[in-house]
Symmetry: C2
Subunit: 256 residues, 2 copies
């Protein structure tokens, strides 16, 4: 099995190292990840400046690594189209420190690295630890070792990735259940804090409190809150087919 690992916390993050260590003896493992943290970059790519890919080695590890001065999407694209000798069998992105739930997946660099895999025709999985307090990646990494094998054997449909979030358990506690979920909906309130610099000029920090608009049972948000591992299949075929007829009935030809 040829495995490509990436993330958005950067190639030196503990989460990606735990994942590499867990998957390393399963096959040919490549780690191609940003040279620094690149959270919330969405599916951004770098087209106006050149990309560098510096080889990295891992102490005691046999995986091949590259640190790239770009986004998670750049990393996976470059890996698949230029760095790897052959198409990988699976892309695994993570383990992210912090949740990637609900609407946030659209902004997530972790999910975008997996989406880039999917766009290139490779089954892909994004993995996040839904906590910042207890960054113990070992447990999630062990689970992913088993899950990668299942995904490799079962396969995924076109344009689909799996988004996995490990729950907010007490430090050290383990989840007792895996839930297959749909995305919830979250929004941020009071997202911007306005401040003034020493010259009196205003600037804004993005932040805000998360507001779970839809955290009903069955959503990824609810599962993680209940201490379950959430697995959400995401499909990036985003045409709203059901609404096409309605727009058709507007007779936009009349505007010509």
């Amino acid at each position: 099995m040829r495995i490509l690992i990436s993330n958005d916390d950067g190639i030196n993050a503990p989460g990606i190292n735990a994942l590499r260590e867990a998957l390393e003896d399963m096959g040919e493992v490549y780690v191609v990840a940003p040279d620094r943290p690149k959270s919330a970059t969405g599916l951004g790519i770098t087209i106006h400046k050149p990309l560098r890919a510096d080889e990295v080695s891992f102490e005691g590890g046999k995986s091949k690594g590259f640190a790239v001065n770009g986004t998670p999407s750049d990393c996976v694209k470059l890996a698949i189209q230029a760095l790897l000798p052959k198409l990988p069998d699976i892309v695994v992105s993570g383990i992210n420190l912090g949740p990637n739930l609900g609407t946030d997946v659209l902004y997530s660099g972790t999910v975008s690295a997996a989406l880039e895999g999917v766009i290139n025709g490779v089954p892909s999985v994004a993995v996040s630890l839904a906590t910042w307090d207890c960054p113990e990646f070992g447990y999630a990494a062990d689970f992913m070792r088993k899950m990668v094998k299942v995904v490799y054997e079962k396969g995924l449909p076109d344009e689909t990735l799996l988004n996995v979030n490990f729950p907010l358990t007490d430090c050290g506690a383990k989840a007792k259940k895996v839930s297959i979920t749909r995305l919830g909906k979250r929004r941020y309130e009071n997202s911007f804090e306005k401040r003034h610099d020493p010259r009196g000029k205003s600037y804004y920090w993005m932040g805000g409190e998360v507001l779970d608009i839809n955290a009903e049972p069955g959503t990824d948000i609810a599962a993680v809150k209940s201490g379950e591992i959430s697995v959400t299949p995401l499909l990036f075929d985003v045409t709203n087919a059901a609404f096409m007829n309605k727009v058709d009935s507007w007779n936009l030809d009349n505007l010509l």
Copy 2:
């Protein structure tokens, strides 16, 4: 009507100016856009550095403008949550110079600005001119003036935006038809060109030739190629609901 205009080519791009001029007398118009070109940023947002919003005035125009040192998504988020006195009735993003078709919409800053509108509960439209040769925005702007009125009156469903592409007509020619389309699929071949700097170190430029994997009749790609205006409703509720049962049958609980 309160209209928020943004884009990814930057606040000084001819496309956004044409749009502003066309919409200016329809209501209260705000232009909040990146201070420089920000193509292919996806739904990237800026969380690790502060954002500035510098007021901009337009010669002979009555719209209020802000140039922001961020992504298209930052601009719309900041506009809605901090700069505008009230929620806009509609977000219009564009007019982009160059197509936003098929898979490319996932990377598009133009579409992401509209998506940010949708995430904030505002009906939103993204507009692109599917050519680089004849950047004549007047015709598209005129059409959008009429279309914005229709969208405002008819409304859009939750999490849905409209993605509009004007066709590759001969310079000056006008489209004779508006087609309601679904997204095609495109990929880039030979995306990376490897070069060496004067010190012999390698670097990569992203580029490549577009490969239309699905440009069947009914897709946005086909419509634009046939000289039609393409209107695609996009829904960013990306759960693959149909695949949930299948993943459930994998009994991932057994991996615990």
